[in-house]
Symmetry: D2
Subunit: 141 residues, 4 copies
Amino acid sequence: MNINKESIYSSETQLRVRYGETDQMGYCYYGNYAQYFEVGRVEALRKVGMTYKQLEEMGYMLPVSTLNIKYFSPAFYDDLLTIITKITEQKGVRLVFEYEIYNESKKLLVTADTMLVFVNKSTMKPTTPPKEFVDLFFDKK
Amino acid sequence: MNINKESIYSSETQLRVRYGETDQMGYCYYGNYAQYFEVGRVEALRKVGMTYKQLEEMGYMLPVSTLNIKYFSPAFYDDLLTIITKITEQKGVRLVFEYEIYNESKKLLVTADTMLVFVNKSTMKPTTPPKEFVDLFFDKK
Amino acid sequence: MNINKESIYSSETQLRVRYGETDQMGYCYYGNYAQYFEVGRVEALRKVGMTYKQLEEMGYMLPVSTLNIKYFSPAFYDDLLTIITKITEQKGVRLVFEYEIYNESKKLLVTADTMLVFVNKSTMKPTTPPKEFVDLFFDKK
Amino acid sequence: MNINKESIYSSETQLRVRYGETDQMGYCYYGNYAQYFEVGRVEALRKVGMTYKQLEEMGYMLPVSTLNIKYFSPAFYDDLLTIITKITEQKGVRLVFEYEIYNESKKLLVTADTMLVFVNKSTMKPTTPPKEFVDLFFDKK
């Protein structure tokens, strides 16, 4: 299923850049955004109705398969960032998220996307998500 | 200048996955690879003949502009990883690196590329790299 | 000045354990707490009336001189932690913070203290804090 | 058993401060040392003759119970650090490590100690270490 990007599968969360996340350029280190996207994903799933934790407890893992980031402008220490996360595709074993990160002046700092793959914890093989999860998408249509 | 990928602008470095870099899946956390690529870049520049530190001391910063990663297979705690880093393009203000990460069984775990941009520390504007740096590439041809 | 621990120089802040902060034991990695304490310090200073950012802009740095942590019980992924931070001493160049971290079941997970030292950014020597900062403590008495 | 500090239970390992480990003071962030000590512990155990990984595979976990750090002088980006790790006590369920970190000019930057506790992975209760592990200490006397 390709999900309409203007859909309800969009969530917003905020976090502050920590001191330890800056580097000696004074920028938020480029590698930290992967954690921020994960914070966004977690909230997006919580909003859809099934937490990442529940998925793990049901025997699924969701390793990241691809990550693509474009950095337009740096974030700085103590900046309050807004992460907008959209679930844009859930097809077969795949789950695609898109992200935008803004600072308090509403400046777009970063865009990114990640593809995750459902994996069965016992077999360690890719697998389709549980029916309860798929239904969450159809229910909300 | 487009640099031949089979060229000498390739370097190899190794590191071990730290315990704190694993996550509760038992995988090396997907966000840590950005640090590994940076370790690769640092060694690649050292090999070419100008360290990242020297570039900073000459008044340049090199923020990352794009990062793309494909994760094929996980790395685990205490795995000794080999990072192969290639400088594949240096044109205008841009510097492109490509990476491959292998484990001890020579399994390819991750491929990635990053584009970095030379920035003048005083003006904070993109700028071409210092002549000494560009010459390093031509000298070695 | 020794500050009464039951005083107003106490603040409370919350954060959620991120997936990337867990390790393969399934625990929040022991090294991440240093960042959590820093989040606590930042909020404690904000509450007292002068942000860490303002102190840096006034020409001060506040490197950590000692850190002592006791780990009683682990934090897990997605746990909502409460960090209680107290400023317990400001004497000469020194600033002492004490911390307690609780999970949602109000279980005490960690206690810690840090001593920070005011450093003049230009001379890089220890220095007493700015009068405006010291006054904040006396004003509130 | 109290272990003589001048004993063979001492190991030395080196690592370079990564760019992402610096903060906007230009210092290696104070929270990163916990990872460095872990790198030291891992090598110390490897030298004694049983890796941390083997201990985990035998059903033991070794969470950290206390961490105390004194920071004397900062480490900077690209500094090659030497970590000296000593196992100074193995008694009952406890294992104590002491650390010193030096830079290339042989300046002492940091001293620290950690107490770890052997935990049975199935019961999640503190437990004495496996006999094979304890014997390693006596054998080497």
